[in-house]
């Protein structure tokens, strides 16, 4: 029998496993995990962003031995975690403005570098992350972020991508996908919801800056996410991680379906999961059980106008074509043509 021992308990899909050595389990499987974003925060039931933030920051805390400072953009993550005078954060955490998280991160990194030099050290042991939602990243904070990339400042920027301005009442961002209803992209007229052909693909824009590390991840693949954070923290210079974090409120989905949606986003090909070094793609997470986009869209009320009696199968087909393009472009399927 030459089969690899790869059954479910020691497989890579569950969070942990009683039969695995503790060091081979996910950070999140450990009783000693930091819970950097602690209980009592005011995120909605089933919030993907709260989950993604704890996954990413806990992994960064472990990678840096707890020597970590975070700068945070305005947005859900900031609002639900720090209503004055409470905080859910268990690490040094700064909030300044909606659009300047990357600049604040750059400034902290510069200050730490100066302190280290004055102490006669090569570089500071304390590391910096900056984080925000897709609005604060792809729209409002884009200039600061591009500058941070261009200067190759020693910051890991994490974008929690829930595809819209959820905190202010679900408005469109440049990360909102075509066809999706938001408060500002109404499901009316010949092109209901967000129009096709708009928006930004920030991971590809980050790659164009040829920074050391760019990666995407979802809350459905915890080990992959943790591995990417850990790798990012082993590097210096500007790094960018975009995590897909489904939003039950803004997407009109059941609170229990958050991880399922993230999984479907990847398995349909709509959200390609990959990593790139110096502007070149170096690894792609292959689709395990390919799904039609309809299985993903039907779980979300923001796409409800595409289905039913007055449905728009033509728009569903265009979304499927986007997924198919991603699959071709990133090579998301195993080469078993």
């Amino acid at each position: 029998m030459t089969q690899n021992i790869k059954f479910y308990q020691t497989g890579t899909f569950t969070v942990g496993n009683r039969l695995l050595d503790p060091e081979h389990r996910a950070v999140q499987a450990s009783i000693q995990r930091d819970n950097s974003l602690t209980s009592g925060h005011r995120a909605c039931q089933g919030c993907g962003e709260a989950l993604g933030a704890r996954y990413a920051v806990d992994a960064a805390m472990r990678a840096t031995d707890g020597q970590l400072i975070a700068a945070n953009a305005t947005g859900c993550l900031e609002v639900f975690s720090t209503p004055y005078p409470e905080t859910s954060w268990k690490l040094p955490w700064l909030h300044s403005l909606f659009g300047n998280a990357a600049a604040v991160g750059s400034g902290i990194a510069a200050a730490l570098a100066v302190k280290a030099r004055k102490a006669g050290l090569e570089r500071s042991a304390v590391r910096v992350i900056a984080q925000g939602g897709d609005g604060g990243t792809t729209d409002i904070g884009f200039g600061c972020l591009s500058g941070m990339f261009e200067r190759n400042d020693d910051v890991l920027y994490i974008c929690y991508d829930n595809e819209g301005y959820m905190n202010t009442g679900v408005q469109r961002s440049s990360a909102t996908p075509p066809g999706a209803r938001t408060a500002t992209t109404v499901p009316l007229g010949p092109n209901p919801g967000e129009e096709f052909g708009r928006g930004k693909n920030l991971p590809l824009i980050a790659m164009a800056h040829e920074i050391p590390y760019v990666a995407t991840a979802t809350v459905a693949d915890l080990r992959d996410l943790e591995a990417k954070v850990e790798h990012a923290m082993s590097l210096h210079g500007a790094r960018y991680l975009q995590i897909l974090v489904p939003c039950p409120l803004g997407w009109g989905a059941a609170s229990c379906d958050t991880i399922r949606l993230a999984r479907l986003a990847r398995e349909t090909g709509l959200f390609p999961v990959f990593e790139a070094k110096g502007g070149e793609i170096t690894a792609v997470t292959k689709i395990r059980h390919q799904q039609p986009v309809e299985n993903y869209l039907r779980l979300q009320k923001r796409f409800a106008h595409l289905f039913g009696d007055k449905g728009r199968p033509d728009i569903v087909a265009r979304i499927q074509a986007m997924a198919d393009k991603n699959i071709r472009r990133f090579g998301l399927l195993e080469a078993a043509e």
Binding site: M1, Q3, I5, K6, F7, Y8, Q9, T10, G11, T12, F13, T14, V15, G16, N17, R18, L19, R25, A26, Q28, A29, I31, N35, T38, S39, G40, H41, R42, A43, Q45, G46, C47, G48, A50, L51, R54, S81, Y84, P85, E86, T87, S88, L222, P248, A254, S255, C256, D257, T258, I259, R260, R263, H289
Partner: protein, 544 residues
């Protein structure tokens, strides 16, 4: 408020832990233990998922001890059980069923190899029970009664234990050293065995053994006959006698061309035995089609591999001097075979009838209170007690499917109720656990892993010897196979609920202790229940 604070700051910083978000909840997650379909399907009542859990970690002795709480014969089961557990296994819907039977055999063989023994009963009750018949049912009852602290005497008409496991199942399926090894372990617990003694007066035997209760498991050993007009020269035998004589000094004289009449597993056993005894032709004649054959298909398949032939849709209408008259049949609309009036002849040195077996009722007529119907003794299906208080019955002589596993289940169930009866109590039926169905699984989390196959003996040796056909799994394969278990409906500590909670409201209690919910912070989103691979979390509405 005396602390000096920066400009415009009036409150001390606090933690969000002060904010008990559990008050938002309308549903709460609850950890449940559902009944896995394998356990549900097991006629012997084994906790299959439970013992696989221990086997998964390589702790085979604990797995074996857990298994034998319900069934003392894993090495036998791993060879002769028809494993309805595997038919029910949820993994069958995903890729292939877990090879439960082959892991069970591995555990049984490991126990025999390493000499694991049953613990003696913790205390003696002072009660005595007579078991009549040392077949699977009687042996199982004796084992369980002894575990419960009763003194047990088993009286068996044959000269060795096993019943149909010895006299009905050929050696190539169940080597006798395996049977003897597992029975010896029961004897070592202090069960008294008496062989070669036929109980003809139950009351006298109970008085002589000072028994307070008795369990009857005499089996069904009388071959059914069919009327076949035959001249004196035709050699007609019955399957029970043929298989029984295989245990004696001289094998039966069947000749070169053997015809077996019947469509059950016994017919196939006889045909395969005939091939091993040197018959160049072994032909099974059966009235219906392969789809309607009661024999298990894998047994037929193995027989066909060994060169056994089958005449489907055929009955035997006459036998004369080495020739049988066969009438072709056809199925009517109701699926019943009907004669066609088309006849053929078939050469045969001997004809073996394998048409089923009856219970020897002569023993039972004198026992007051026994009620029989359709050739079996009626028992209370809840307790296995016959019409006579304190007298229980099981196995082939009681209603139910006739196979070793069902018989063992009867024995185990009867033992529980005999114990209760001896204590003057009645066992309440166990609480029904809801089934852990496939639709409750989140199969994404299970890696793709096809089943491991057991090696089979070379075909050449299968028709020339009585060596065991089916081999066992190696330790690595058995471990692999155990780890294919999905743990349906029962937590296997994969930490997924603990990982996926956005509110850190799942508390991990540590290895072997599972998880609990921190209701102070659980918002009731239901992600833990949705993502639980094995369906061990229910969402339960909060009372308003």
């Amino acid at each position: 408020m005396t602390m000096k604070k920066p400009f415009a700051i009036t409150l001390d910083p606090g933690s969000s832990l002060a904010n008990k978000t559990g008050s938002w909840r309308t549903e709460r997650p609850v950890y449940v233990h559902r009944l896995p379909p394998c356990n549900h399907a097991c006629p012997a009542g084994e906790d299959i998922q439970g013992w696989l859990f221990h086997a998964e970690s390589g702790d085979y002795e604990t797995a074996w001890r857990h298994l034998t709480q319900n069934n003392p014969f894993p090495a036998i089961m791993g060879r002769v059980c028809y494993h309805s557990c595997e038919t029910a296994c949820n993994r069958g819907t995903l890729d292939q069923a877990v090879g439960i039977n082959s892991v069970e055999r591995f555990l049984g063989d490991e126990a025999l190899k390493l000499g694991w023994a049953f613990a003696p009963p913790a205390m003696e009750t002072g009660k005595r029970v007579l078991v009549v018949g040392a077949g699977p049912s009687g042996l199982a009852a004796a084992y369980h009664l002894r575990r419960l602290g009763h003194a047990v005497t088993v009286i068996e008409a044959g000269d060795s234990p096993g019943g149909m496991m010895r006299f009905g199942i050929p050696k190539y399926r169940l080597p006798r050293e395996v049977l003897d090894g597992e029975v010896a372990r029961i004897a070592a617990m202090g069960v008294t065995f008496r062989y070669g003694e036929k109980v003809s007066d139950l009351a006298a035997s109970m008085a002589e053994t000072h028994a307070d209760a008795a369990f009857l498991a005499i089996g069904a050993h009388i071959a059914k006959r069919a009327f076949i007009p035959a001249k004196d020269s035709a050699r007609i035998l019955d399957a029970v006698a043929v298989l029984r004589s295989m245990e004696g000094a001289g094998p039966p004289m069947l000749g070169r061309r053997v015809v077996v009449y019947g469509g059950g597993d016994t017919a196939i056993d006889v045909a395969r035995t005939a091939r091993r005894l040197g018959a160049s032709e072994a032909v099974i004649v059966y009235r219906r089609t392969r789809e309607r054959m009661p024999a298990h298909d894998f047994e037929l398949e193995e027989a066909l591999q060994e060169g056994v032939k089958v005449r489907w849709l055929s009955t035997i209408t006459g036998a004369e001097g080495g020739q049988l008259t066969i009438e072709k049949m056809e199925l009517d609309a109701a699926g019943k075979p009907q004669p066609t009036g088309v006849f053929e002849t078939l050469d045969a040195d001997s004809l073996v009838l394998a048409l089923g077996q009856d219970v020897d009722m002569s023993l039972l007529a004198a026992i007051p209170g026994l009620v029989t119907a359709d050739g079996v003794v009626l028992v209370d299906p809840e307790t296995m007690m016959t019409g006579q208080p304190g007298l229980f019955a099981g196995g082939d002589m009681a209603p139910g499917a006739r196979n070793v596993t069902v018989a063992i289940g009867h024995g185990a169930k009867a033992a529980r109720h005999i114990d209760a009866w001896l204590h003057g109590t009645k066992l309440a039926p166990p609480a029904e656990r809801p089934l852990a169905g496939f639709d409750r699984l989140n199969t994404w989390y299970y890696s793709d892993a096809p089943a491991s196959l057991r090696p089979q003996l070379d075909l050449a040796r299968r028709t020339s010897s009585f060596d065991e056909v089916q081999g066992g799994l190696t330790e690595a394969n058995a471990l692999f196979e155990a780890r294919r278990c999905l743990s349906c409906g029962n937590c296997f500590e994969c930490d997924t609920c603990y990982g996926v909670c956005p509110d850190n409201a799942v508390i991990k209690l540590g290895s072997g202790m599972g998880f609990t919910i921190n209701l102070d912070y659980c918002k009731g989103c239901g992600i833990c229940a949705a993502e639980c691979p094995c369906g061990a979390i229910d969402m339960v509405p909060e009372e308003s």
